[in-house]
Protein backbone atom coordinates (compact mmCIF):
# COMPACT_ATOMS: atom_id res chain seq x y z
CA UNK A 1 0.00 0.00 0.00
CA UNK A 2 1.27 3.49 -0.81
CA UNK A 3 -0.56 6.35 0.87
CA UNK A 4 2.20 8.94 0.67
CA UNK A 5 3.27 10.44 3.97
CA UNK A 6 2.33 8.40 7.01
CA UNK A 7 2.46 9.07 10.75
CA UNK A 8 2.24 6.18 13.19
CA UNK A 9 0.20 7.53 16.10
CA UNK A 10 0.83 4.62 18.46
CA UNK A 11 4.11 2.79 18.91
CA UNK A 12 5.56 1.39 22.14
CA UNK A 13 9.19 1.42 23.30
CA UNK A 14 10.79 -0.59 26.09
CA UNK A 15 9.96 -4.02 27.40
CA UNK A 16 6.80 -5.64 28.73
CA UNK A 17 6.60 -9.39 29.24
CA UNK A 18 7.12 -10.93 25.78
CA UNK A 19 7.17 -7.58 23.97
CA UNK A 20 10.26 -5.45 23.51
CA UNK A 21 11.29 -2.73 21.09
CA UNK A 22 14.18 -0.30 20.97
CA UNK A 23 14.20 2.94 19.01
CA UNK A 24 16.66 1.73 16.38
CA UNK A 25 14.53 -1.30 15.59
CA UNK A 26 11.40 0.84 15.39
CA UNK A 27 13.20 3.10 12.93
CA UNK A 28 14.15 0.09 10.85
CA UNK A 29 10.53 -1.06 10.73
CA UNK A 30 9.38 2.48 9.91
CA UNK A 31 11.81 2.64 7.01
CA UNK A 32 10.72 -0.76 5.74
CA UNK A 33 7.10 0.40 5.63
CA UNK A 34 7.43 4.02 4.56
CA UNK A 35 6.48 5.54 7.90
CA UNK A 36 7.74 9.10 8.20
CA UNK A 37 7.15 9.71 11.90
CA UNK A 38 6.12 7.60 14.89
CA UNK A 39 4.62 8.70 18.18
CA UNK A 40 5.90 6.35 20.84
CA UNK A 41 4.94 5.79 24.47
CA UNK A 42 6.59 3.74 27.19
CA UNK A 43 5.48 0.24 28.17
CA UNK A 44 6.11 -2.25 30.96
CA UNK A 45 7.72 -0.99 34.14
CA UNK A 46 8.46 2.33 32.48
CA UNK A 47 4.74 2.84 31.99
CA UNK A 48 3.59 1.45 35.34
CA UNK A 49 6.17 2.84 37.78
CA UNK A 50 9.47 4.08 36.28
CA UNK A 51 7.99 6.99 34.39
CA UNK A 52 11.08 9.14 34.23
CA UNK A 53 13.05 6.35 32.56
CA UNK A 54 10.26 5.68 30.08
CA UNK A 55 9.79 9.34 29.31
CA UNK A 56 13.52 9.76 28.75
CA UNK A 57 13.42 6.79 26.40
CA UNK A 58 10.65 8.14 24.18
CA UNK A 59 11.72 11.78 24.19
CA UNK A 60 15.43 11.12 23.62
CA UNK A 61 14.89 8.81 20.67
CA UNK A 62 15.95 9.91 17.17
CA UNK A 63 13.97 12.82 15.80
CA UNK A 64 11.59 10.73 13.69
CA UNK A 65 10.24 9.28 16.94
CA UNK A 66 8.29 11.73 19.06
CA UNK A 67 7.36 11.15 22.68
CA UNK A 68 3.97 10.38 24.17
CA UNK A 69 5.01 10.60 27.80
CA UNK A 70 3.30 9.10 30.82
CA UNK A 71 2.85 9.81 34.51
CA UNK A 72 0.77 8.24 37.23
CA UNK A 73 -1.94 10.65 38.41
CA UNK A 74 -1.62 9.30 41.95
CA UNK A 75 1.75 11.06 42.23
CA UNK A 76 0.03 14.45 42.21
CA UNK A 77 2.48 17.36 42.13
CA UNK A 78 5.40 15.09 41.28
CA UNK A 79 3.50 13.96 38.21
CA UNK A 80 2.90 17.56 37.19
CA UNK A 81 6.59 18.32 37.67
CA UNK A 82 7.46 15.38 35.45
CA UNK A 83 5.13 16.67 32.74
CA UNK A 84 6.93 20.03 32.89
CA UNK A 85 10.26 18.26 32.47
CA UNK A 86 8.89 16.29 29.52
CA UNK A 87 7.63 19.42 27.81
CA UNK A 88 11.17 20.77 27.92
CA UNK A 89 12.38 17.48 26.38
CA UNK A 90 10.03 17.97 23.42
CA UNK A 91 7.15 15.62 24.22
CA UNK A 92 4.11 16.01 21.97
CA UNK A 93 1.42 14.19 23.93
CA UNK A 94 0.39 12.28 27.04
CA UNK A 95 -0.37 8.59 27.36
CA UNK A 96 -2.23 7.17 30.35
CA UNK A 97 -3.02 3.52 31.10
CA UNK A 98 -5.79 3.46 33.71
CA UNK A 99 -5.50 -0.31 34.26
CA UNK A 100 -1.72 -0.46 34.61
CA UNK A 101 -1.59 2.77 36.59
CA UNK A 102 -4.55 2.02 38.84
CA UNK A 103 -7.07 4.81 38.47
CA UNK A 104 -10.52 5.41 37.07
CA UNK A 105 -10.46 8.06 34.35
CA UNK A 106 -13.20 10.02 36.09
CA UNK A 107 -11.42 10.23 39.47
CA UNK A 108 -10.47 13.77 40.61
CA UNK A 109 -6.75 12.97 40.62
CA UNK A 110 -6.85 12.84 36.84
CA UNK A 111 -8.14 16.37 36.26
CA UNK A 112 -4.92 18.27 37.13
CA UNK A 113 -2.96 15.99 34.81
CA UNK A 114 -5.41 16.60 32.00
CA UNK A 115 -5.30 20.31 32.74
CA UNK A 116 -1.51 20.43 32.48
CA UNK A 117 -1.49 18.48 29.24
CA UNK A 118 -4.13 20.82 27.90
CA UNK A 119 -2.03 23.82 28.88
CA UNK A 120 0.75 22.34 26.76
CA UNK A 121 -1.62 21.72 23.84
CA UNK A 122 -1.10 17.96 24.09
CA UNK A 123 -3.64 15.38 22.97
CA UNK A 124 -4.14 12.61 25.51
CA UNK A 125 -4.30 8.93 24.61
CA UNK A 126 -5.72 6.54 27.18
CA UNK A 127 -5.58 2.78 26.90
CA UNK A 128 -9.07 1.35 26.35
CA UNK A 129 -10.51 -2.13 26.08
CA UNK A 130 -9.55 -3.62 29.45
CA UNK A 131 -12.57 -3.90 31.67
CA UNK A 132 -13.15 -1.62 34.68
CA UNK A 133 -10.54 1.17 34.60
CA UNK A 134 -9.93 1.19 30.85
CA UNK A 135 -13.59 1.29 29.90
CA UNK A 136 -13.94 3.30 26.71
CA UNK A 137 -17.08 4.91 28.11
CA UNK A 138 -15.13 6.14 31.13
CA UNK A 139 -12.66 7.77 28.75
CA UNK A 140 -15.61 9.33 26.95
CA UNK A 141 -16.79 10.79 30.27
CA UNK A 142 -13.36 12.32 30.81
CA UNK A 143 -13.47 13.78 27.32
CA UNK A 144 -16.87 15.33 28.01
CA UNK A 145 -15.44 17.06 31.09
CA UNK A 146 -12.57 18.51 29.07
CA UNK A 147 -14.13 19.46 25.73
CA UNK A 148 -11.18 21.59 24.61
CA UNK A 149 -8.72 18.72 24.83
CA UNK A 150 -8.38 15.97 22.21
CA UNK A 151 -8.55 12.43 23.58
CA UNK A 152 -7.57 9.27 21.72
CA UNK A 153 -9.05 5.89 22.64
CA UNK A 154 -5.89 3.79 22.56
CA UNK A 155 -6.54 0.45 20.80
CA UNK A 156 -10.16 1.62 20.26
CA UNK A 157 -11.59 -0.62 22.94
CA UNK A 158 -9.96 -3.72 21.47
CA UNK A 159 -11.54 -6.13 21.67
CA UNK A 160 -14.86 -6.51 23.40
CA UNK A 161 -15.78 -2.86 23.72
CA UNK A 162 -15.96 -2.55 19.94
CA UNK A 163 -19.73 -2.45 19.93
CA UNK A 164 -19.60 0.77 21.97
CA UNK A 165 -17.59 2.57 19.29
CA UNK A 166 -20.34 4.01 17.05
CA UNK A 167 -22.27 5.43 19.97
CA UNK A 168 -19.31 6.80 21.87
CA UNK A 169 -17.79 8.50 18.83
CA UNK A 170 -21.16 9.95 17.99
CA UNK A 171 -21.64 11.50 21.40
CA UNK A 172 -18.16 12.92 22.10
CA UNK A 173 -16.70 15.19 19.45
CA UNK A 174 -13.21 15.43 20.96
CA UNK A 175 -12.62 11.66 21.01
CA UNK A 176 -10.41 10.02 18.36
CA UNK A 177 -9.92 6.45 17.22
CA UNK A 178 -6.58 4.60 17.27
CA UNK A 179 -6.64 2.08 14.42
CA UNK A 180 -3.59 0.11 15.51
CA UNK A 181 -5.35 -3.00 16.84
CA UNK A 182 -8.94 -2.84 15.66
CA UNK A 183 -10.36 -4.54 12.56
CA UNK A 184 -11.17 -2.77 9.33
CA UNK A 185 -14.95 -3.06 9.46
CA UNK A 186 -15.02 -1.05 12.68
CA UNK A 187 -12.94 1.71 11.09
CA UNK A 188 -15.21 1.86 8.06
CA UNK A 189 -18.25 2.09 10.30
CA UNK A 190 -16.84 5.04 12.25
CA UNK A 191 -15.81 6.84 9.07
CA UNK A 192 -19.21 6.27 7.49
CA UNK A 193 -21.03 7.52 10.57
CA UNK A 194 -18.76 10.30 11.77
CA UNK A 195 -16.39 11.18 8.93
CA UNK A 196 -12.68 10.61 8.47
CA UNK A 197 -11.36 13.40 10.68
CA UNK A 198 -11.22 11.32 13.86
CA UNK A 199 -9.33 8.17 12.91
CA UNK A 200 -5.57 7.77 13.42
CA UNK A 201 -3.31 5.19 11.84
CA UNK A 202 -1.12 3.34 14.32
CA UNK A 203 1.08 0.29 14.13
CA UNK A 204 1.00 -0.87 17.77
CA UNK A 205 4.55 -2.04 17.24
CA UNK A 206 5.87 -4.33 18.70
CA UNK A 207 2.58 -6.06 19.51
CA UNK A 208 1.17 -5.64 16.04
CA UNK A 209 3.06 -5.02 12.80
CA UNK A 210 2.96 -2.20 10.27
CA UNK A 211 2.60 -4.74 7.50
CA UNK A 212 -0.60 -6.14 9.03
CA UNK A 213 -2.20 -2.75 9.71
CA UNK A 214 -1.26 -1.35 6.30
CA UNK A 215 -2.74 -4.36 4.53
CA UNK A 216 -5.92 -3.90 6.54
CA UNK A 217 -6.05 -0.20 5.69
CA UNK A 218 -5.38 -0.98 2.05
CA UNK A 219 -8.59 -3.04 1.94
CA UNK A 220 -10.79 -0.29 3.41
CA UNK A 221 -13.45 1.15 1.16
CA UNK A 222 -12.37 4.73 1.71
CA UNK A 223 -11.66 7.57 -0.69
CA UNK A 224 -8.07 8.75 -1.20
CA UNK A 225 -8.89 11.86 0.84
CA UNK A 226 -10.27 9.79 3.70
CA UNK A 227 -7.20 7.57 3.65
CA UNK A 228 -4.90 10.59 3.78
CA UNK A 229 -6.81 11.82 6.82
CA UNK A 230 -6.34 8.46 8.46
CA UNK A 231 -2.64 7.91 7.79
CA UNK A 232 -1.35 11.47 8.07
CA UNK A 233 -3.58 14.54 8.22
CA UNK A 234 -5.37 13.85 11.49
CA UNK A 235 -2.24 13.08 13.50
CA UNK A 236 -0.39 15.98 11.94
CA UNK A 237 -3.23 18.30 12.89
CA UNK A 238 -4.03 17.29 16.46
CA UNK A 239 -0.37 16.81 17.48
CA UNK A 240 0.57 20.09 15.74
CA UNK A 241 3.41 18.38 13.93
CA UNK A 242 5.40 20.24 11.28
Amino acid sequence: MSQGRMIDAHAMLGEENHLRLEADELLRRMDANGIELALARPMGSELAVNHRAGNDRVTRSPSRIRGLVSVNPWFGQAALDELNRCRDLGAVGLFLHPSRQGFMPTEPIVDPIVGRASDFGWPIMLHTGTYIQSDILAVAELARRHPKTDFIAGFSGFTDMWFELPGVFGSVANLYMDCSMIWGVAIEEIVSLHGSSRVLFGGAEPRNRYSVVLKMIGRLKLSPEQLRDLVYNNAQRIYRLP
Partner: protein
Protein backbone atom coordinates in the same frame (compact mmCIF):
# COMPACT_ATOMS: atom_id res chain seq x y z
CA UNK B 1 -0.60 -27.24 3.43
CA UNK B 2 -4.22 -27.62 4.43
CA UNK B 3 -5.59 -24.51 6.11
CA UNK B 4 -8.16 -25.08 8.84
CA UNK B 5 -9.87 -22.15 10.54
CA UNK B 6 -10.68 -23.41 14.03
CA UNK B 7 -12.96 -20.52 15.04
CA UNK B 8 -15.78 -19.12 12.88
CA UNK B 9 -19.47 -18.34 13.26
CA UNK B 10 -22.03 -19.21 10.61
CA UNK B 11 -25.44 -17.88 11.53
CA UNK B 12 -28.11 -15.73 9.94
CA UNK B 13 -27.74 -12.75 12.26
CA UNK B 14 -26.34 -11.36 15.46
CA UNK B 15 -29.36 -9.58 16.94
CA UNK B 16 -30.01 -6.66 14.57
CA UNK B 17 -26.98 -7.31 12.36
CA UNK B 18 -27.44 -9.70 9.43
CA UNK B 19 -24.46 -11.99 8.85
CA UNK B 20 -23.19 -13.43 5.59
CA UNK B 21 -24.86 -16.52 4.19
CA UNK B 22 -23.25 -19.88 3.54
CA UNK B 23 -22.41 -19.24 -0.09
CA UNK B 24 -20.66 -15.97 0.75
CA UNK B 25 -18.94 -17.69 3.65
CA UNK B 26 -17.55 -20.42 1.38
CA UNK B 27 -16.60 -17.85 -1.28
CA UNK B 28 -14.63 -15.94 1.36
CA UNK B 29 -12.86 -19.13 2.40
CA UNK B 30 -11.95 -19.74 -1.24
CA UNK B 31 -10.73 -16.19 -1.70
CA UNK B 32 -8.51 -16.35 1.36
CA UNK B 33 -7.27 -19.90 0.93
CA UNK B 34 -9.07 -21.60 3.80
CA UNK B 35 -9.83 -25.25 3.15
CA UNK B 36 -11.92 -26.14 6.20
CA UNK B 37 -13.73 -24.03 8.80
CA UNK B 38 -15.02 -25.09 12.19
CA UNK B 39 -18.41 -23.40 12.37
CA UNK B 40 -20.13 -22.23 15.57
CA UNK B 41 -23.49 -20.73 16.24
CA UNK B 42 -24.00 -17.13 17.39
CA UNK B 43 -27.67 -16.73 18.28
CA UNK B 44 -27.57 -20.21 19.76
CA UNK B 45 -25.58 -18.77 22.64
CA UNK B 46 -28.71 -16.93 23.69
CA UNK B 47 -31.59 -19.20 22.78
CA UNK B 48 -32.62 -22.46 21.12
CA UNK B 49 -29.39 -24.45 21.11
CA UNK B 50 -31.05 -27.49 19.49
CA UNK B 51 -32.24 -25.39 16.58
CA UNK B 52 -28.82 -23.83 16.22
CA UNK B 53 -27.14 -27.23 16.28
CA UNK B 54 -29.51 -28.52 13.60
CA UNK B 55 -28.78 -25.52 11.38
CA UNK B 56 -25.04 -26.00 11.73
CA UNK B 57 -25.36 -29.68 10.89
CA UNK B 58 -27.37 -28.78 7.79
CA UNK B 59 -24.67 -26.35 6.68
CA UNK B 60 -22.04 -29.04 7.11
CA UNK B 61 -24.08 -31.61 5.21
CA UNK B 62 -24.36 -29.17 2.34
CA UNK B 63 -20.58 -28.63 2.33
CA UNK B 64 -19.17 -31.71 4.04
CA UNK B 65 -15.64 -31.20 2.76
CA UNK B 66 -15.48 -27.59 3.95
CA UNK B 67 -17.51 -27.09 7.14
CA UNK B 68 -17.08 -28.80 10.51
CA UNK B 69 -19.87 -28.01 12.99
CA UNK B 70 -19.41 -27.67 16.74
CA UNK B 71 -22.16 -28.39 19.27
CA UNK B 72 -23.40 -25.72 21.66
CA UNK B 73 -25.59 -26.47 24.68
CA UNK B 74 -26.91 -24.24 27.45
CA UNK B 75 -25.37 -25.48 30.70
CA UNK B 76 -27.88 -23.48 32.71
CA UNK B 77 -30.47 -26.09 31.70
CA UNK B 78 -28.73 -28.89 33.59
CA UNK B 79 -29.87 -32.33 32.48
CA UNK B 80 -31.48 -30.93 29.34
CA UNK B 81 -28.09 -29.61 28.27
CA UNK B 82 -26.53 -33.03 28.71
CA UNK B 83 -29.38 -34.61 26.76
CA UNK B 84 -28.85 -32.16 23.90
CA UNK B 85 -25.14 -32.91 23.95
CA UNK B 86 -25.87 -36.63 23.69
CA UNK B 87 -28.33 -36.05 20.84
CA UNK B 88 -25.62 -34.27 18.90
CA UNK B 89 -22.84 -36.66 19.85
CA UNK B 90 -24.87 -39.38 18.17
CA UNK B 91 -24.40 -37.52 14.89
CA UNK B 92 -20.82 -38.00 13.67
CA UNK B 93 -20.94 -34.81 11.67
CA UNK B 94 -20.21 -32.86 14.88
CA UNK B 95 -16.51 -32.81 15.72
CA UNK B 96 -16.29 -30.36 18.61
CA UNK B 97 -18.14 -28.46 21.31
CA UNK B 98 -18.26 -24.69 21.67
CA UNK B 99 -19.15 -22.56 24.70
CA UNK B 100 -19.25 -18.81 25.03
CA UNK B 101 -19.72 -18.33 28.75
CA UNK B 102 -19.69 -14.55 28.50
CA UNK B 103 -22.58 -14.48 26.04
CA UNK B 104 -24.22 -17.50 27.66
CA UNK B 105 -24.16 -15.58 30.96
CA UNK B 106 -22.86 -18.30 33.21
CA UNK B 107 -19.53 -19.17 34.76
CA UNK B 108 -18.69 -22.84 34.49
CA UNK B 109 -18.24 -22.98 38.26
CA UNK B 110 -21.89 -21.89 38.70
CA UNK B 111 -23.04 -25.05 36.90
CA UNK B 112 -20.14 -27.28 37.78
CA UNK B 113 -21.95 -30.63 37.90
CA UNK B 114 -23.43 -30.08 34.44
CA UNK B 115 -20.12 -28.89 33.04
CA UNK B 116 -18.27 -31.86 34.49
CA UNK B 117 -20.75 -34.13 32.74
CA UNK B 118 -20.37 -32.23 29.46
CA UNK B 119 -16.58 -32.31 29.70
CA UNK B 120 -16.45 -36.02 30.50
CA UNK B 121 -18.88 -37.06 27.78
CA UNK B 122 -17.11 -34.89 25.20
CA UNK B 123 -13.79 -36.41 26.24
CA UNK B 124 -15.20 -39.92 25.83
CA UNK B 125 -16.35 -38.97 22.34
CA UNK B 126 -12.87 -37.50 21.67
CA UNK B 127 -14.32 -34.09 20.81
CA UNK B 128 -12.35 -30.95 21.69
CA UNK B 129 -14.16 -28.21 23.58
CA UNK B 130 -13.47 -24.59 22.60
CA UNK B 131 -14.42 -21.81 25.01
CA UNK B 132 -14.43 -18.08 24.42
CA UNK B 133 -11.76 -16.63 26.69
CA UNK B 134 -10.28 -13.28 27.58
CA UNK B 135 -13.43 -11.55 28.78
CA UNK B 136 -14.58 -11.13 32.38
CA UNK B 137 -16.66 -12.01 34.31
CA UNK B 138 -17.45 -15.53 33.05
CA UNK B 139 -14.80 -16.12 30.41
CA UNK B 140 -11.46 -15.10 31.83
CA UNK B 141 -8.57 -17.15 30.51
CA UNK B 142 -7.98 -18.47 34.02
CA UNK B 143 -11.59 -19.62 34.35
CA UNK B 144 -11.39 -21.54 31.09
CA UNK B 145 -7.97 -23.02 31.78
CA UNK B 146 -9.27 -24.35 35.08
CA UNK B 147 -11.57 -26.68 33.13
CA UNK B 148 -8.49 -28.51 31.88
CA UNK B 149 -7.74 -29.32 35.52
CA UNK B 150 -11.31 -30.40 36.26
CA UNK B 151 -11.23 -33.12 33.60
CA UNK B 152 -7.66 -33.86 32.48
CA UNK B 153 -8.84 -36.26 29.80
CA UNK B 154 -10.80 -33.46 28.07
CA UNK B 155 -9.20 -31.35 25.33
CA UNK B 156 -9.82 -27.69 26.17
CA UNK B 157 -9.11 -24.87 23.72
CA UNK B 158 -8.82 -21.23 24.74
CA UNK B 159 -10.92 -19.74 21.96
CA UNK B 160 -8.90 -16.51 21.76
CA UNK B 161 -5.50 -17.37 23.29
CA UNK B 162 -6.05 -14.68 25.90
CA UNK B 163 -7.55 -12.18 23.45
CA UNK B 164 -6.37 -8.67 24.37
CA UNK B 165 -5.33 -8.73 28.01
CA UNK B 166 -4.71 -12.37 28.94
CA UNK B 167 -2.18 -13.39 26.30
CA UNK B 168 0.73 -13.67 28.70
CA UNK B 169 -1.11 -15.97 31.14
CA UNK B 170 -2.52 -17.91 28.18
CA UNK B 171 1.05 -18.80 27.21
CA UNK B 172 1.87 -19.77 30.76
CA UNK B 173 -1.24 -21.94 31.04
CA UNK B 174 -0.87 -23.85 27.77
CA UNK B 175 2.70 -24.61 28.82
CA UNK B 176 1.52 -25.82 32.24
CA UNK B 177 -1.51 -27.90 31.21
CA UNK B 178 -1.00 -30.68 28.65
CA UNK B 179 -4.68 -30.79 27.65
CA UNK B 180 -5.01 -27.02 27.16
CA UNK B 181 -4.59 -25.43 23.70
CA UNK B 182 -4.78 -21.88 22.37
CA UNK B 183 -6.72 -20.76 19.34
CA UNK B 184 -4.81 -17.77 17.95
CA UNK B 185 -7.84 -15.66 17.20
CA UNK B 186 -7.50 -12.02 18.17
CA UNK B 187 -3.98 -11.61 19.58
CA UNK B 188 -1.41 -9.99 17.31
CA UNK B 189 1.82 -10.89 15.55
CA UNK B 190 3.98 -9.96 18.53
CA UNK B 191 1.96 -12.34 20.68
CA UNK B 192 2.14 -15.32 18.34
CA UNK B 193 5.86 -15.89 18.68
CA UNK B 194 5.49 -15.84 22.46
CA UNK B 195 2.59 -18.32 22.42
CA UNK B 196 4.62 -20.70 20.27
CA UNK B 197 7.69 -20.40 22.47
CA UNK B 198 5.68 -20.75 25.67
CA UNK B 199 3.41 -23.62 24.73
CA UNK B 200 5.11 -25.23 21.76
CA UNK B 201 4.02 -25.19 18.15
CA UNK B 202 1.71 -28.16 18.77
CA UNK B 203 -0.47 -26.12 21.15
CA UNK B 204 -1.52 -23.19 18.95
CA UNK B 205 -4.27 -23.25 16.30
CA UNK B 206 -5.31 -20.58 13.83
CA UNK B 207 -8.80 -19.12 14.17
CA UNK B 208 -10.40 -16.02 12.67
CA UNK B 209 -13.81 -15.37 14.27
CA UNK B 210 -14.96 -14.96 10.67
CA UNK B 211 -18.69 -14.65 10.12
CA UNK B 212 -18.76 -11.03 11.17
CA UNK B 213 -18.18 -8.65 8.30
CA UNK B 214 -16.98 -9.79 4.89
CA UNK B 215 -13.95 -11.69 3.55
CA UNK B 216 -11.62 -8.93 4.70
CA UNK B 217 -12.07 -9.96 8.33
CA UNK B 218 -10.79 -13.40 7.43
CA UNK B 219 -7.90 -11.93 5.45
CA UNK B 220 -6.92 -9.71 8.38
CA UNK B 221 -6.75 -12.65 10.75
CA UNK B 222 -4.72 -14.67 8.27
CA UNK B 223 -2.27 -11.78 7.99
CA UNK B 224 -1.84 -12.07 11.75
CA UNK B 225 -0.21 -15.43 11.07
CA UNK B 226 1.43 -14.94 7.70
CA UNK B 227 3.21 -11.74 8.75
CA UNK B 228 4.74 -13.44 11.80
CA UNK B 229 7.61 -15.02 9.89
CA UNK B 230 6.97 -18.58 11.05
CA UNK B 231 9.04 -21.45 9.78
CA UNK B 232 7.41 -24.09 7.55
CA UNK B 233 6.79 -26.58 10.36
CA UNK B 234 5.31 -24.00 12.71
CA UNK B 235 3.15 -22.59 9.93
CA UNK B 236 1.82 -26.01 8.95
CA UNK B 237 0.95 -26.88 12.55
CA UNK B 238 -0.69 -23.55 13.36
CA UNK B 239 -2.62 -23.26 10.11
CA UNK B 240 -3.96 -26.76 9.99
CA UNK B 241 -1.88 -29.58 11.39
CA UNK B 242 -2.90 -29.11 14.99
CA UNK B 243 -6.55 -28.64 14.10
CA UNK B 244 -6.52 -31.76 11.96
CA UNK B 245 -5.11 -33.74 14.89
CA UNK B 246 -7.64 -32.41 17.42
CA UNK B 247 -10.54 -32.92 15.01
CA UNK B 248 -9.24 -36.36 14.00
CA UNK B 249 -9.65 -35.50 10.34
CA UNK B 250 -8.16 -37.86 7.78
CA UNK B 251 -5.25 -36.62 5.70
CA UNK B 252 -7.46 -36.60 2.60
CA UNK B 253 -10.12 -34.39 4.17
CA UNK B 254 -9.24 -31.10 2.57
CA UNK B 255 -8.95 -29.68 -0.87
CA UNK B 256 -5.54 -28.40 -1.84
CA UNK B 257 -4.09 -25.56 -3.82
CA UNK B 258 -6.44 -22.71 -3.01
CA UNK B 259 -5.02 -19.19 -3.15
CA UNK B 260 -3.23 -17.85 -0.10
CA UNK B 261 -3.24 -14.53 1.71
CA UNK B 262 -5.83 -12.59 -0.27
CA UNK B 263 -5.12 -8.92 -0.85
Amino acid sequence: MTVIDFHTHLDSNWFERPLIDRDSFIASMDRCGVDIACIFTLMGFYTDCPGANDRLAAHARAKPDRLVPFITVDPKLGAAAVEELERCLADPIFRGVKFHNWLQAVACSMVKETMLEVLRRSARAQLPLLFHDGTPPYSTTFQIADLARWVPEATIVLGHAGLADYVYPAGQLIRELPNLYACYCGPKVGDLRYLLEAGGAEKVLFGSDFGFGDWRMLAERMDDVYEAGLGPRELELVMGGNARRLLRLPESAAAQGRPRNAS
